[in-house]
Symmetry: none
Subunit: 152 residues, 2 copies
DNA sequence: TGGGATAGCATGGGAATCCATGGGAAGTCA
DNA sequence: TGACTTCCCATGGATTCCCATGCTATCCCA
């Protein structure tokens, strides 16, 4: 299964359309639903994106983790699913960003697609520049490393 | 299988009719019964909605959890099945909200359809705004999260 | 190795379709 | 017969589909 890698700057036209970078689309090519799911980040001024399979996965894990009518379930689902949107690719691989998402992230006429492995983020190019520096400094100063993992 | 995602505000006309958001209908398109099952939430001032398949699923789950003639079974069944109604789509994808449901949720002329993955809820837009904030705070403060691991 | 051809990709605009919404007519139950 | 319900049609606006274009990177062949 494909990963979301590297950063791409694409243009947003006046209809709110953006081309999803071809490598990101390729990472989702095997999925039945051809599109992405976007939701606002809880901590940053950015949008988060995943494929539908990852979203269904979250749903399945929630069901196994919480009782179906529990408050925990409903609250988490409200935040997770209630604020997300399903956007399918048009035939040129574009999606249409909803206006409230554009406002939330402060998007003007360009966006940066940032690959984070299992998910990706959408930033304004400007915000992302400063974000990138912060992240780099934080990682080096805190000496964040990858935990040991099992080989597959 | 489709998930219920994002939030849609739709209008209720004076006959009590509401368009079910097209993406929600699409999530149920593969089911044999073209409609939804609604019942009042027993913790919140909202209506809960699922597809018929999910309803049958709950019935099956109840039977495996409780003895068939136990009080627990009957009480839950009374609330869940006794208070629920089956509403089919008209040719434009609308349902008609029963008057007692409208009263219960305090619905006026607009409702918010909130996708929660496997199910959805119907709120007045106003109530939902505060509900959304409560949910967001609760999730961040209680640190309710999904278990680690995001693979498919 | 250089230049032309080709294919993939990002971008733009216009047209057709879908969708939410409203009202009215026909049918049904008391 | 009256009220309520269900079906059917109309409409405006938003969204999606479809076609066109330019750019760039790759490939092929001389």
């Amino acid at each position: 299964m494909g990963l979301f890698l590297s950063t791409f700057i694409n243009r947003v036209d006046k209809k709110g359309r953006v081309s999803v970078p071809a490598p990101f689309r390729a990472a989702l090519a095997h999925e039945s639903y051809q599109g992405v799911v976007l939701f606002p980040s809880y901590t940053q001024k950015a949008l988060e994106g995943v494929g539908m399979a990852a979203m269904e996965n979250m749903g399945a894990r929630m069901d196994s983790q919480f009782a179906f009518f529990s408050d925990d379930h409903d609250e988490l689902a409200t935040v997770l699913f209630g604020e997300s949107v399903q956007l399918n690719f048009d035939e040129n691989g574009r999606i249409i960003l909803p206006q409230n998402f554009i406002d939330f992230a402060g998007i003007d006429d360009q966006v940066a697609f940032v690959g984070l492995g299992q998910k990706f983020q959408i930033w304004t190019p400007k915000e992302f520049e400063s974000r990138k520096n912060i992240a780099r400094n934080s990682v080096t100063s805190k000496k964040v490393t990858l935990p040991k993992g099992v080989e597959s």
